[in-house]
Symmetry: C2
Subunit: 221 residues, 2 copies
DNA sequence: CGAATAGTGTCTGTAAGACAGTATCTG
DNA sequence: CAGATACTGTCTTACAGACACTATTCG
């Protein structure tokens, strides 16, 4: 049984005015000390119950964020990816509203557009690319994008999220029909977003059943 | 850096007259010696280039099969899943025609219907369940099921594979329209399956571009 | 009242499924 | 020729997108 380095990495994604962004931190230790990288770290077999627990711990320690939505992405492994030796990184991805990152007030956490990434250590570029493509593909037929918004949001806001993720505009009537048939939203009675100079929009929240678990559609949007 | 046991497990799936089946082998060593389990083993950091390579090696060593289609499934980990200690299993799934398993002539390899599994060690039951559900879900919108048939096959054979996997009958005209628009099959000119007492069926083969890579549909079948 | 966006009713084109017909083999 | 299954043409139905209309706010 040869020694293998076991780590977790977390791709923390959020949506800002700039589009889809990923949270990176400068590495505190060699190798690649000082280079922006995914939050990650060794598995602590003494204290972590499993890799998901390790990912949650690493994310909380390094970014101050307890992400409600954290899902396994894939595992990256091999002799070549880390100069320290044969390594395994079990990668997770987390989705949070941009406000959550701001509230954490960890100024060492910096956001980068997924389309303009800096040079990255290890295979972190591949990991982020995989995460973005997974998010985009799952967005086509699931409630995933809701996790990029806050607890309550309007249908036009949600539609814009889907549009940014999928890179194309969506028919408003079709979008609302889909949302109705997915039956994943609860209107917040009597609550409206009146921030614009126009008719206020009904506020909704994700139904509890969809907070952790995804809803899958038979057909896409 | 706490010690972690690093292994790979392979869910080898095939389709027989009994339906979808998984290949299991009796374990040669403790723990769970003599119990039917997934083919799996330690990662050999000295010789494996990455986990996929380890999975391919394990599958070839234990079953004699060089599976053309081998894809990462998920990683199972934690303190509780293996009595030897905190462990990681990077699970892969492979799809082969039933004939490939017969040709390998490894009589220790036994097939079990995925609906009637024997008691399984570790979390192998969860791993198989995840693999089956992944296969079923991907079958809805991809060329995956082709790998359960041999190199050449007829459209009615392929339709039956999709029907068994998805557990429902498919409209023949729609199915053939989809196959045409996916454009993943090449007719084998002048070759027909004339085994029945009826009009022979055109033989097709998967286009080379789809042998390793999946075709994804916008909409399902 | 005009501008702006929220939200809805309805038409239309496209794509999926039903059905029925023709084609081609065996016994 | 009867039976069986392969394959195809066409009608019908369901759903996604286009369009237009109403609703409600601010300035």
């Amino acid at each position: 049984m040869d020694p293998v380095i076991c780590t977790v990495d977390v791709v923390l994604l959020t949506l800002t005015a700039e589009g889809l962004e990923v949270a990176l931190l400068k590495r505190e230790h060699a190798p690649f000390k000082g280079v922006a990288a995914l939050p990650g770290g060794y598995i602590h077999a003494r204290t972590d119950t499993d890799a998901r627990d390790a990912a949650r711990r690493v994310l909380l320690d390094k970014t101050g964020i307890a992400a409600p939505y954290l899902e396994q992405l894939a595992t990256f492994s091999g002799a070549a990816r880390d100069p320290r030796g044969w390594s395994v990184s079990i990668a997770y991805y987390a989705l949070v509203p941009a406000a959550t990152i701001a509230q954490a007030e960890r100024h060492e956490v910096r956001l980068y557009s997924v389309d303009r990434l800096p040079p990255l250590p290890f295979d972190h570029g591949d990991i982020i690319e995989t995460a973005v493509s997974r998010l985009r593909s799952k967005s086509q037929y699931s409630s995933l994008p809701c996790h990029l918004l806050g607890e309550v949001f309007t249908l036009p806001q949600l539609q814009r999220v889907y549009e940014v993720l999928m890179g194309e505009s969506i028919n408003k009537v079709s979008f609302r029909r889909k949302m109705t048939e997915m039956d994943m939203l609860d209107p917040v009675d009597g609550q409206f977003d009146s921030s614009g100079a126009h008719r206020p929009a009904q506020l909704y929240r994700l139904k509890p059943a969809f907070r952790e678990q995804l809803q899958l559609l038979e057909r896409g949007l």
